[in-house]
Amino acid sequence: MAGVALKTRKPRAKSDPGLLAHLYRRAGFGATRDQLERLAAKEYSEVVDFLLNPTPEASGVSEDEIARYMGGESATAYLATWLYRMINSECQLQEKIALFWHYVFATGLSKNEHILSASNQIDMFRHNGLGDMRAILMDISRDPAMIFWLDNNENHKGEPNENYGRELLELFSMGVGNYTENDIKNAARAFTGWTFAQPPPLYPQGYYPAQFRFIPEDHDYGKKTFLGQTGNFDGGDIVDIIVRQPACARFVSRHLYNFFVADEPQVPSWNDVPPQDPKLIDAMSRAFLDSGGQIREVLRVMFNSDSFKSARFKKVKSPTELVAGVLKMVGSYDDFRPGLAKYVETTTVAMGQKLLDPPTVEGWHTGREWIDGGNLTERVNFAVEEIGDGSVPGIRRIVDRLTTGGAAVSEPSALVDATLDLIGPIDVDPSTREALVKFAIDSQKDEPRARIVRLLRLIVATPDYQLA
């Protein structure tokens, strides 16, 4: 009997779609309602596991097709492929963690002017970003774009350049207050001779990748003291010592928290301002130290925590999150169609985020700093334009569900709630809901489909929609 009933019914939801929508906004770039309903058949923790373990097969995105349809040696062409992945890859966290490390190891194309190095760096984050911190720091220390960005190619035996050594400690792994100026000097010495083989000049030869190169004659093999330990350290030893520090565990945990859970003050203040959720930071730091610095394990603790689950709508969306999320919802770029380039070339830039070109070595400032009059206008107009007249597939699906069969709704407050549910589900402030209901009352005479499209336009124009 039960078996018969199950066949005719939808699989029973094991997880709350609202919680999954939250997870996908944070661990990814959002999810459509259809995706959420498919995912709801799994336990929440299973979905987290799936996101933590990306594979090429599971992504549903074909590398061959990307290469075939979206090739091109420009920053814009590369970023269009990244945006395509953000919209279409099932392995959403793989793309989100790449963006996370791009924030942390903020490397600017405006100085490097070498797109292959910049895009190789992002590809590296896509592949190692959920792995262990030692490998991540080793990879970034050997990354030509980073070496050039922070002048490690000018870091010579007898003439150390401290730029990389300093930022490695200050911005990448520990934060101020956890090391001395002497530690910086010794770290810099340990990275002498870590440089890259210059590719042929861009003009007129074109783009060739740069390769890491270690020059033994330029390396300082002398004794160094770093964080209380002494030896003939090289860069690898420095990284080994760093990842064993509780300060590193804590710093990385705070970075992950600020990016995935809730907006925190900007990085330079972390030495003075305690975390807003010290218990979660402690649990994440413990997971870091217990697992030998596995980012995946830290994230597992974080995503499964009650703090994370209840932190809905606590973050201002970055321009990239807003743009990728809206494009995913409207469903216009589910296949290879030209046009993604303009979003990374102008749309997000006008909103204050030019990927591959962070404003400073500190990356982007987050939270409220994303919003000013100009970019709020850009955000609203962009989202409203994408919804358009409602003929795009994603919006059509939402409107279909609200206008057909037994599920059709027209009573104003029920319509507002049902629409907010289908577009997210998203929570809005009571003052926002009240205004939307007023619209639904005023528009009762509208043609039903057009009325819902108008309501959707208003929802994406709300301040609430700017929050993830």
Partner: protein, 383 residues
């Protein structure tokens, strides 16, 4: 002090023009008698027969004819050799330095925004500072300073993709309800709501500007000329804007510089001339000064096709109240004097030029904005 003229405020107005990418100053104001210039510039060079001569040693790029007209009329002060110690070669960092007047540390407050804060301390007019073109420059950004950022005056507005005007008006009314600040919504939400209300207020005031404008001046059809025309129209409408900001991009000429630089200088100087003519036609020119700057100059030596990032750029101060002429010194072309062994050394600090504009023109204190005292120019006519 408010000077009145025909009911319009005659408060001093500053128009900041940003040339993005690093304008090649040596090929803008060409040292056409210098053998060192022609030695360094084997390909990317303006030959003597093509320059528009200003004097026995310097001449404008041939595409800058309209700028030369303004110069000949005595309205252009050329600031030669502007820069700062250890000029940064990263576009973004260098532009950031220009925006924040802070070469030695990362700062977030823009110099224009801080001037706006002094001009309108209570933030009464969201149009005190207006940027035309997409994206608000950091120069105009500082906590608590409310400015308006307009992509294009003719299409400026919210929910602009809504085609049916009646629907759009209804939706904007709901938008206004949604953004009206409410109690208990939290700091971030409140901030966003206030920002949305400011945008609406700016839109309300700017809406009537295009219809109220007539002019015999025909600007060229490019985005920079369009932005300057938007500045002219808004200024003429008398909405109390004290600082305008516009951008002209594309100056990063590593390759194929000759035709591309020529095109940009033609657009720049043509739009500046048309802008001044437009203001004069509306008796609105005498309280306006235009400041044209870039983030850095370019490498002395060319690379065979273009020029790489360098230092020692140039700036222009333009207006009827300007005492035209050459200011500061042209950077030395003697390789022994080069910065980094390959760049022009600056002859005046850019912060002194900001201080000049702020104190002598805008009547605003500058020390807090440029973080100290710097040598100023005297480019304005006595009142």
């Amino acid at each position: 002090m408010v000077r009145k003229n025909g009911g319009k405020s005659k408060d001093p107005v500053l128009v900041v023009v940003q040339l993005t990418g690093g304008n090649d100053f040596m090929n803008t104001l060409v040292p056409y008698t210098s053998g060192m210039y022609y030695d360094a510039r084997k390909t990317v060079r303006i030959t003597e027969d093509r320059v528009l001569k200003l004097n026995d040693t310097l001449g404008f790029h041939p595409a800058a004819g309209p700028l030369k007209e303004l110069y000949d009329a005595g309205d252009v002060a050329i600031v030669q050799g502007i820069g700062y110690e250890n000029s940064n070669r990263s576009h973004f960092r260098a532009m950031d330095i220009m925006h924040t007047a802070e070469p030695s540390r990362i700062a977030t407050e823009g110099w224009v925004a801080k001037a706006i804060r002094q001009l309108d301390p209570e933030g009464k007019n969201v149009l005190t500072g207006v940027s035309f073109g997409r994206g608000l420059p950091r120069a105009m950004s500082a906590p608590g300073v409310r400015v308006t950022s307009v992509g294009d005056l003719d299409t400026y507005g919210l929910m602009t993709a809504v085609q049916i005007q009646e629907q759009r008006a209804e939706e904007l009314d709901i938008f206004k309800r949604i953004y009206t600040p409410a109690i208990g919504t939290g700091a971030t939400m409140n901030y966003m709501k206030q920002t949305g209300m400011d945008v609406l207020s700016g839109i309300d005031q700017l809406r009537a500007v295009p219809a109220g404008y007539k002019s015999s001046v025909e600007y060229a059809n490019n985005s920079f000329a369009k932005s300057l025309r938007d500045v002219a129209r808004t200024h003429i409408a008398g909405l109390g804007t004290r600082i305008f900001y516009v951008q002209h991009g594309g100056y990063d000429h590593h390759a194929v510089e000759m035709p591309n630089h020529e095109k940009l200088l033609g657009e720049l100087s043509g739009a500046l001339r048309d802008f001044m003519a437009d203001l004069r036609e509306h008796d609105a020119a005498d309280n306006v000064v235009v400041y044209v700057f870039t983030e850095f100059g370019r490498r002395v030596q060319d690379n065979g096709s273009g020029t790489d990032h360098g230092s020692g750029g140039g700036a222009f101060i333009i207006g009827e109240r300007v005492e035209g002429g050459l200011y500061a010194e042209y950077p030395s072309l003697d390789p022994k004097t080069f910065a980094n062994g390959e760049d022009l050394a600056h002859t005046i600090d850019f912060r002194g030029v900001y201080a000049t504009l702020l104190e002598q023109w805008m009547d605003v204190g500058s020390e807090d904005i440029v973080h100290g005292k710097y040598e100023q120019l005297n480019p304005f006519k006595a009142a």
